[in-house]
Amino acid sequence: MSDKRFRLSHGTLQLLLSAGALLIMLGAIFHVQPNAMSYFGFTLLFKLSMPLVLAALAQMMLILLGDIDLSNGAFVGMVTCITAVWLDPSPGVAVIAYLAAIAAFVAMGWFTHARELPSIIVTLGASFIWLGIAITVLPSPGGTVPGWLTGFTGWRPPLLPMPIWVALIAAAVSQWFLMHTSFGTLLRATGGNARAVQKAGWSLSRLRIAIYAMAGGLMVASGVLLSGIITSGDPNVAPSYTLLTIGAVIVGGGAFVGGRVSPIGTVLGALTLSLAGSFLSFMHVPATWQIGAQGAILFLVLAGRVIVDRRKLA
């Protein structure tokens, strides 16, 4: 029984850790710039985390399977191009293109599974394909996005700033879906021991297709949001998403062993990392050390895991 109480506090500790890192950075920012502590300030600080949160959840779905997606950034970039080229003039074409993109992503996932290929290398290859398609669709940055989309991304909802709403809703829905529904349990089981799921009579292909489809859908949503924020499309807009999203899943307490991810943690991780990138602009770190400082922040944020793990062992 004491065991049980302890396990709970372990999971919570992991989350508190991510949240703590976020709060410390925010605290430092507010200390330097007190007027950031406002509706407007929060909106500016976190606006660009909205698409990252969704992309990170997509990455999480694949890491859940024990896979990894090195094409995340390229895919989101491709979606911004589709959006910028078609969504405004012909929404129907855009929707078909989104569905085709998701279908292509699912096909990639299915192929990986059917041929038992390492996802790291297939998604690496796929990232070139997405980039190539993006450049073909939109040879250089530009295009237009519909007014309703920019309106949506710039919307000022009541009570809380938009990015906070997005983070809260994304965290709540994904946590509920993955950790509390019976289908989500099946998906986690697939990540934990695919063989066992298969032996219990489930179709692995279908489950994997479902996961890849959800990841694809999340990335489409991420790309659409992103193009709304940047008011255009750009094939090279998000290559850094690939590593940032992986980082977000890990910072949020996830692991690569399959089946061990935390949706809430991932959202917190995405917020933390997107803040870390801009945190430095407040701290006046010398220009040549700014990148290095990001590395240091990453280490500091993750160092807390050691303490949590110690407690677990004790």
């Binding site: 090195l70 990639m108 192929f111 041929r115 038992e116 290929l117 390492p118 790291i120 290398i121 297939v122 690496l124 290859g125 796929a126 990232s127 070139f128 394909i129 997405w130 980039l131 190539g132 398609i133 993006a134 450049i135 073909t136 669709v137 040879p139 590593l243 992986i246 980082g247 890990i250 910072v251 692991a255 690569f256 040549t288 050390w289 700014q290 990148i291 290095g292 400082a293 990001q294 590395g295 240091a296 990453l298 280490f299 993750l302 160092a303 895991r305 050691v306 793990d309």
Partner: protein
């Protein structure tokens, strides 16, 4: 079973490379073959050095990967060129410093993995930011020129044959022997299949993994050193292209990304294939988008047809 399915996984890179060579020959004549190949060999050799290091890391188990390679490569090149210049243009001092820098970087990488219990992908990413910053502060405002002896060595030809790739082939032979017959190599592959089993088989798991990261760092250092020699100096972004490419080369070369199985010779085939593929796409003047699509499709196609080691 047809003959094709009986080929070893590592031969596929070579087959693909030869196929491209034949296409190129048809497209631009037999005369061009020599220079196409020699270009691919010299740039391929650098990729081989980087990828061989990465292979040692990947072989030690699922999740092991070194994302700091480009930063280490650049930093080592800067350190080496600076040291060589300071020592009055000694290529040897440069070499020692390049290897030393790379190996220290490898130690730091594994240190973070161990001390902070981080997945390697994150630990090496974080370090790569730091290494990059250090390189910026090393004198990022200028390209540092290589010592004359190094520049001469990297482009030296004996009877028309480039010497540098030949030397790298020698290193590949050593790496292959290490994997198949070397005590450390066997242990690394054991660790790659199961850390727990390796531990209970009496293997010093941490030491084995440490060595693999150190070797990877050293290889990145060596690659930076050679690249600086061949391309006229150390520049800040010289390593950028050597990350994803190296990972793809390792996989196409017959090494299992899940660890426990590695092939050093196959890396050559994959590296040649990769460089020749770039050449081919340029030669046929596809649109930029099309070039990427074909490249991605080829990578996937080749990993898909390469037979995998039996066990999941």
């Amino acid at each position: 079973m047809s003959a094709l399915t009986r080929l070893a996984p590592w031969t596929y890179g070579f087959i693909a490379a030869v196929a491209i060579l034949i296409i190129m020959m048809v497209a631009s004549g037999v005369g061009s073959l020599g220079s196409v190949l020699s270009t691919a060999l010299i740039f391929g050799a650098i990729s081989v050095v980087v990828a061989t290091g990465q292979m040692f890391v990947i072989a030690t188990g699922p999740g092991n990967i070194d994302l700091s390679v480009p930063a280490v490569l650049t930093l080592s090149a800067y350190a080496a060129m600076t040291a060589a210049a300071a020592s009055g243009g000694s290529a040897l001092v440069g070499l020692v410093v390049a290897l030393g820098t790379g190996m220290i970087a490898g130690t730091l990488n594994y240190g973070a993995i161990l001390a902070l219990r981080l997945p390697p992908i994150i630990a090496t990413l974080a370090w790569s930011f730091v290494f990059q910053s250090v390189a910026f502060n090393f004198g990022g405002e200028a390209t540092l020129k290589p010592p004359a002896a190094l520049a001469a060595f990297t482009s030296f030809r004996l009877a028309g044959v480039q010497i540098m790739p030949i030397c790298i082939m020698g290193l590949t032979a050593v790496a292959a022997l290490t994997l198949t017959r070397g005590v450390w190599g066997r242990r690394a592959l054991a660790v790659g299949q199961s850390e727990a089993a390796a531990h209970f088989a009496g293997i010093r798991v941490k030491r084995v993994r440490l060595v693999s990261y150190v070797l990877c760092g050293g290889a990145a250092g060596l690659a930076g050193y050679l690249l600086a020699g061949f391309t006229g100096g150390a520049a800040l972004n010289m390593g950028d292209t050597y990350l994803m490419e190296a990972i793809a080369i390792v996989a196409l070369g017959g090494t299992s990304i899940a660890g426990g199985q590695a092939n050093a010779v196959g890396i050559w085939g994959a590296a040649l294939f990769f460089n020749l593929m770039g050449t081919m796409l340029n030669t046929f003047q596809f649109q930029a988008g099309m070039r990427f699509i074909i490249m991605g499709a080829l990578i996937i196609a080749i990993v898909a047809i390469v037979p995998k080691p039996k066990v999941r």
